[in-house]
């Protein structure tokens, strides 16, 4: 059984937002909607200060609270670990938005464009009315993962079946793959490093691992 996860090496991340922008491009999200973003967090007091960059998105939890509360079964947990949304079922009740402790979901009630009322050509060609009024979030670029099954390629190894953010990351902070495959990059990295998952105490069993030091 596959379980796709993402590893994010906080030692590497420089907070550049390349993944944020790549995600917006790959998923054609409207202005203001960021399925993933990198937060800029300062701690301490002058002069003992640290600034840390923290990429966040849907954690694709093994025990997703969003899926539990969803009244329509639009949100489902797939066998490969991805948490998916069927836009055609979702009623946009926002219960999942409240249930997610990672601030990963959002709903857009009307079309917004980068420059005023009219879409740019690049926005028009990809506008999807099915995504208005429903819950949205990072999909781990599910279309690409599904393509892997068709082409026999491996997510996390072959870029065309790997999430756009991971592909775009210029510091090499992000990796993607099957944690149940001991040979995968993510398995190897997690074996070599110290890491944590966010808000694990909430029992969500997130699928994103943050690396902070070597073992």
């Amino acid at each position: 059984m596959k379980r796709y996860v993402m590893t994010i090496d906080l030692r590497r991340c420089v907070g550049c937002q390349t993944c944020t922008a790549a995600c917006k491009g790959a998923n054609a999200t409207p202005p203001g909607v960021q399925w993933r973003r990198v937060l800029d967090i300062e701690t301490g007091e002058f002069p003992d200060v640290r600034r840390t960059f923290l990429p966040v998105a849907c954690m694709h939890c093994a025990n997703p609270p969003c899926e539990e509360v969803c009244p329509t079964r639009a949100t489902t947990k797939r066998a490969d670990g991805l948490v998916a949304i069927d836009y055609d079922l979702c009623i946009g009740c926002a219960n999942c938005v409240m249930a997610c402790p990672y601030d990963a979901r959002s709903i857009v009630h009307e079309a917004h464009y980068a420059y005023g009322d009219q879409p740019l050509s690049s926005e028009a060609v990809r506008f999807d009315p099915a995504r208005i009024g429903v819950s949205m979030k990072c999909t781990f670029c599910v279309d690409r993962i599904d393509q892997a099954a068709v082409t026999g390629r491996t997510p996390g190894v072959h870029p065309e079946v790997t999430p756009a953010c991971v592909n775009s990351c210029i510091s090499g902070a992000m990796e993607f793959g099957d944690i149940n495959d001991p040979e995968s990059t993510v398995s190897r990295l997690l074996g070599e490093t110290q890491h944590y998952r966010m808000h694990e105490e909430l029992g969500t069993e997130p699928g994103v691992y943050y690396i902070w030091d070597q073992s």
Binding site: V14, G15, G25, P31, G44, F46, A114, R126, S171, G172
Partner: protein, 916 residues
Amino acid sequence: MKAAQSKSVKHVPTLCYNCVSGPDFMTVKVVDGVATEIEPNFAAAEVHPAHGKVCVKAYGLVQKTYNPNRILSPMKRTNPKKGRNEDPGFVPISWDEALDMVAAKLNAIRAKGLRDEAGLPRVAVSFGHGGTPANYMGTFPALLAAWGPVDYSFGSGQGVKCVHSEHLYGEFWHRGFTVAADTPNARYVIAVGANVEVTGGPCAVIRHADARVRGYKRVQVEPHLTVTGACSAEWVPIRPKTDPAFLFALIHVLVREHGLDELDLPFLRDRTASPYLVAPDGLYLRDPESGKPLVWDEVSGRAVAFDMPGAKPAVAGCHRVARAVVVDADQARREYADVVGKTAHEMLSEHIAKYTPEWAETVCDVPADTIRRIANEYLENASIGATIEIDGKTLPLRPVAVTLGKSVNNGWGAYECCWARTVLAALVGALENPGGLVGTTVRLNRPQNNRHLSVEPGEDGFMVQHFNPTDKEEWQSAPATRNLHQTLVPIVGHNGAWSQALGPTQLAWMFQDERPADWNMPTPTFPELWIVYRSNPAISFWDTKKLAEIAARFPYMVCFAYTVDETNYMADLLLPEATDLESTQMIRMGGTKYMEQFWDYKGVVLRQSAVAPQGDARDFTWIATELARRSGLLGSYVDAINRGVSGVSPLKGDGYDFSFDPAQAPAAEKIWDSVCRAASVTLSEGKEEHGLDWFKEHGFYAIPMSRLDWYLSPTMEQKGLRYELPYQERLLRVGRELGNRLHEKRMGWWDEQLSEYTALPEWHDVPARWVRNLEHAGAKAADFPFWLLATKSMQYHAGGNAGIELMREVAQNVRGHAGVIMNATTAAGLGIAEGDRIEVRSHIGATYGKATLAQGIRPDTLVIMGQFDHWATPYAKDLDLPSLNTIAPMTLDLTDATGSGSDIVRVAVRRVEATT
């Protein structure tokens, strides 16, 4: 997207070179002829140091293409009055009309003469950031080459926004137009304001990320905790502009507290001027016959010429020399007999004695213990004696470096910093050796694509550097450019547009308006035609309001325009060129290049038209060809193309000929097809020939390159040359000569700058210069108690993309993009809360923005990110963001000897409106 899957989809390989840290590879996803996404180009993952990836800026290129605010047809001005408050009244015209208007101007100028009565070029051209526009303007450089003298004086920030002193001194000392750590081998890096995680592009980011995981230590020394500071092991919040004192103290610890026994003695002896003997008057003692500098030979126990075979020069000590001469400015010779000469290292040691860490603490506000610890860690990590094997050759491994950032390595104090960090590298043998401090490329020397080939013997055992002459006969007493680069700045040289553009560009602006009382040279004139491309000096320079007023007085201005902006608001003609994703051009890639592009390959890469140009925007090569044709320059324009001026190699060479008939205007596609063929034939040494169609499919062509090419010291060793360090006898002499020339013309207005020409730089109170500046302007220092600095943003830096919505959106996730960063405790004392709208006022004006409170900034310092405060650029003008440029003065007393200045100004701050 589901909808897209049924449509035609293609992935077009191309590149991004918006900032100097490029080129980087990318692909454009095109759906039904519309660009929809930017993606990495993984086909280039092996050859590209950043594995085929581009930074965040490139992801804005889709919106850049379809931005509804674009200028999409030529426009001419209908309002003859110019100014910020004058609506230009731009109206669309045809390309025919527009090109004829420019050609008529060019033809009229040519008829009068290319230079005017002041001896200045009648045509001036300004390009933006760091030479990058050349990667987007097709064959326009061939047109300029065909034209003749052009004035590149009117800078858009070069000198003050670049790393100016590093350009000049870095290239002088070690062929480092910009200078970097050899990050892949580094163990310890002291980054003094170098914000490489923001400005170094994907190549720098991945190198440093790998180094962090490997366990290198970077100490970030800067007043504000930048992204690079955030990613460093230690932050040292130094007082602004006191960096020379910090660096001098590091040298003190190495030289005075450790001493030669612990330094890299062989490197100092053989690769530097450390053993050269210095006379009591501060000049090199020279052999009376040959004029060569003398060293003390420990074998024979006497003074010999530095290049005496078999000699073992003493690095330390004072040595008695029986007979010698010194050569001063203007070849004035003095003879010495029985004179005591001190080695250059001895001079350094005595010079640096007073700069103890305890002294530096009082200047820099950095504890002496911290300075001493950092110096000791630097020395310890230098692992003197260690070696590394690279491609079968054993080289020293010295994995330590000091890197400098903007505002540290430009303006007053920058000479001191550049000197100190290069000396720090030399002391431990880390200069141009693996792990150490390495130059990237050359721009003031030739050839640009291989700095090793520029290493030729020059004077006194050093490599050649072509200074602008300062002798009586050849000194340029009547400036040939409006920034006086050949007249005032010997070290900037005269290597074409690069030397020009790196002159004192603010002088060009300032002297249009008023000149010093004792100005005894021809009065500068306005350029009759000013052409601007990818440049917005009315935002990106200083005292921008005044600068725009000056630009408004220029008689005729042609701007290649993406949207209306603050500079082209004064234009007479706007020409819309096809932009990044719409046009075609082949450029070089690979080798070694700023900021941290160190490749294992070199070759060429194609930027291609992924989508059709919007509106009536035209490919730059077509525009250049049409202008050449209409202004009677076709023959020399085509000749220039044939010589390789706008391509990567000549179109005709041994065994190949893709050149064009100068009588015919070649089509743009044909030009690039020939460039592609010439490039592939020369790179493959005749084995392969690929045309434009091949490159459109494959994107690039690369051949392997040895990492040995990353380091200059082996080349220096092979040629028996020394780095011109630590003693700056030549600069001392040149400065005196320049002073003689200026004083002969009864001009004293550059005297302060002449004080920078010293053999061993002394600390002077650098920050006090900014205080004196405002006092001279009649303001009270106590009224402006804070320092205001600028910092860069990866999202915006050099992107010309302040009008791109996507950048605005993602940039806001990074601190500083909302307004003015200030210390939270300072803010509390002033009653300023997060998000309050504040006024930041200098003695020349005010700028406004929201307060962003932080702990990671000194209490006496404010920081504004990027360059904003737009008033004409659509979208950007609604951002309500402040800018240092609005309130930083442009004055002679803040201009250093290289013609550079620094992004810093004294300010007051107050709340004008509470947050809502």
